[in-house]
Symmetry: C2
Subunit: 337 residues, 2 copies
Amino acid sequence: MKDMRIAIDGMGGDNAPQAVVDGVIKAINEYSDLEFYITGPEEIIKEELHKQNYEGDKITVVNATEVISNNEHPARAIKRKKDSSLCKALELVKEKTCDAVISAGSTGAFLTGCTLIVGRIKGVKRPALTPIMPGKNGPFMIVDAGANVDCKPEYLVQFAYMGKEYYKGVLKGENPSIGLVNIGSEEEKGNDLTKNTHKLLKEEENLNFIGNIEPRDITTGNTNVLVCDGFVGNTILKMYEGTASTVLKIIVEEMLSSGAKAKIGAFLLKPVFKSIKKKFDYKEYGGAPFLGVDGICIKAHGSSDGKAIKNAIRQSKEFHDNKVLDKIKEQLELKSE
Amino acid sequence: MKDMRIAIDGMGGDNAPQAVVDGVIKAINEYSDLEFYITGPEEIIKEELHKQNYEGDKITVVNATEVISNNEHPARAIKRKKDSSLCKALELVKEKTCDAVISAGSTGAFLTGCTLIVGRIKGVKRPALTPIMPGKNGPFMIVDAGANVDCKPEYLVQFAYMGKEYYKGVLKGENPSIGLVNIGSEEEKGNDLTKNTHKLLKEEENLNFIGNIEPRDITTGNTNVLVCDGFVGNTILKMYEGTASTVLKIIVEEMLSSGAKAKIGAFLLKPVFKSIKKKFDYKEYGGAPFLGVDGICIKAHGSSDGKAIKNAIRQSKEFHDNKVLDKIKEQLELKSE
């Protein structure tokens, strides 16, 4: 089989290009069937490769003189900065030089760029950003987590199909359960969007739709794929991060302000807290795929280190090897027939 | 000054009537200027009063033969069960026998009942459920947390004014900061509702509007009053509860499955975990006022015990003593002039 080729935005993310190059080298050492195209100012990327002592032939540096920052207007940046590391990486997928693209840069620019340059799968109404998150009893996915703030019921039905195929292919679960995020478990609860979406999802025989899921129960991880509009999905994502961080901070504060006994207790529990931190570590899960575009497009976390980049690469490899893109197309075609 | 009179749904909540009667007696022992009207089947309430050895003259039992459960359709239940403990309690406020009403029963029935029986303040477009929640650096309020799932920008502006007056009167903070829940900090971020609400809030000179607040930052408690539609507010409320509970459960599981050292550590930290649990205890904060109705209407948590009921009573007393209702009316009138 031919090697899989991955385009990676060499200048995307808080720790670029160091973390990007580090992650790519880690992946090359782990997988023998991957090739990389790193985009960015040639000298800077080559210097980094040199610094990290890479001398193999699995990496091509693609020169790109511009960089898109987090503060730029996404659509404007994509249209104007054709020679940016992000646009160049997206072009590599569009022209089929590469099978996948990964960026840890601006989320807005990445989503806009994927839609404008890579393009949507025929029939997909709205692509969706789909982070995988750690739940108590297993990982779960949110579709959509921020790409589409105003949604129609039909979009959410497509989100469910795309999420299902991604879960099956990458998280390796047969017949994943699909839940509709709602503020009540009963069918008639919710806003116009959820009430109408519930009706549609109930009719879908090819989905393991288990009904409404209240946000209180999301983090157990008992439901595999959660569909909602991007405003609600992004709220869930950020409440999860914010609350987990607040709770852990309060625990540390309380321990430090308590007596000597508590301090000894905290010391003895250090390995436990370390393992908990690992459980909540987004780096373990790689990035968030942007489902519905006609290519494998993975958004890595802005603060990704080498390990997170490597995991995003592993994720794009699973996406590719398990033909998730073809399966999404099949499902959506079947549905529209 | 005349005693304040409080109507309380004797049969509302998982622990009624025991918890209700317990809470009322606790409040009578603490505050000398309160009188109570407990609604419910006369014999049952009187038996409970007898069980708890109450013999004073501050409590009137108002007979009500029906009970509204959580499983009933709210509007239907309010219309059909005129002789329910909830409807009777609401009627006492409507006819001005009482100054406030408290119920730990069905939230849906309570909100519908307050709107239909007590009625809205003139000029209020939508009343809002407003829980007070514990943040890392102080309590914060969510307006609306579930009463209005589909909102218009004008509703949210009123939510901000009502939240402001409640915060000032009951949580005792001058010039509370008002934040708009949004998925980005920049003005142009968000969905149609938040973009248009942002524009309106910016123009309000009598509000200390500090801009968009991302859900990640809500639980710090640095912003006093957060406005959003009821779907998003309810999601925030339930994600907060769910995530805090998940994180604490994972910690306990990890501690128990780790070695002896971790178990000793956990033992030594017991008082710390107890104090954290208290920090997250809704019982400390009483209930959630339903702001915008023409009376003091407090929804206590369904699983309230006597202490939670007593705190909801304290809350309605502060609401009353600080004339929050009048101040809300003044603010909204000023605004509509």
